[in-house]
Symmetry: C2
DNA sequence: TACTAAACCTAGTAATCAACTAGGGTAAGT
DNA sequence: ACTTACCCTAGTTGATTACTAGGTTTAGTA
């Protein structure tokens, strides 16, 4: 799974917006507080607004705030409008592929992959990240042996 | 996670090789039995050989066979030499990124993502796929509610 | 009413990657 | 010698990634 710069920046910005509570935060403030390229971030914020995750206000005293509470926005909610489905096989949904012969059961593997991604990304909310308290099932994954080492 | 054509084809071909047991299988036979583009497949098989997953024999009666038993080759073993690490954040390993402020704990999320991918891809072997009997922990994922529906 | 802050929009660009294809060289059997 | 089949280098086309430039519109403030 390749987490694109776009998605990484988006989640970080969303965390910062969540952290500000009700006050609107400007794109520039987000860019400098998280160290993100300003113009690129602007276009991402726009996408997030169109996706219904942010509300914006123009003009002086303007900025962005969450369209829902931080508890109601998962990481998957942010990824999908920006990068598309969590898992795809050659541009197809895992359940759409069809395999023959010895590889007939490969489809189950890709479905399992998607399912496992969902069990993290659809469960972790912005509120969890900002508070630094991830759900137990997710913490369990990060504390597995070798979870922090490269392969 | 985007499963590239390359990886998809590679796993399918490896399944077909595994299915043939000890007999060497030609690239052409693999291409036609799995419906893959012949020349593209050839370059993939070459990569797999360089990665130490396949052994090849030239000339008449030649072809490919597994370098290890089907039980000892996981899907992750196939993905990594072709597409690189299972999870990357903007080209970095999840444990390498460092986040500040409200997004400080985002790193844990990406590590959890990688861990969850590993729990599928490092566990399923070619033997499992060919036999159609995936490990229990993986089957559990495919039988979750909505595991087969798009979001 | 002017001024200014800030979101909004269109467009463009350089570099990389994905998914192939072409065509010849080399080794191994018959 | 002949054929089969792997091996190797190179190239192509289109899309995607990660940005940047520059102007337009809206909304508060002096």
């Amino acid at each position: 799974m390749y987490i694109s710069a776009k998605v990484d920046y988006a989640v970080r910005a969303m965390c910062a917006v969540a952290d500000a509570g009700d006050r609107p935060v400007t794109a520039e403030a987000l860019a400098s507080s998280q160290g993100l390229p300003p113009k690129f971030l602007e276009s991402i914020l726009n996408d997030l607004r169109r996706a219904g995750l942010l509300r914006s206000q123009r003009g002086a005293e303007g900025g962005y705030r969450l369209a829902r509470t931080a508890k109601e926005i998962t990481v998957a909610d942010i990824i999908r409008p920006l990068d598309g489905p969590l898992a795809e096989v050659r541009g197809l949904r895992p359940e759409a592929a069809n395999y023959e012969g010895a590889a007939a059961h490969l489809q189950d593997v890709w479905v399992a992959v998607r399912s496992s991604l969902r069990s993290v990304l659809e469960v972790v909310t912005l509120a969890d990240i900002v508070a630094g308290k991830l759900p137990n099932s997710v913490v369990k994954l990060t504390t597995k042996a070798d979870a922090w080492v490269s392969r």
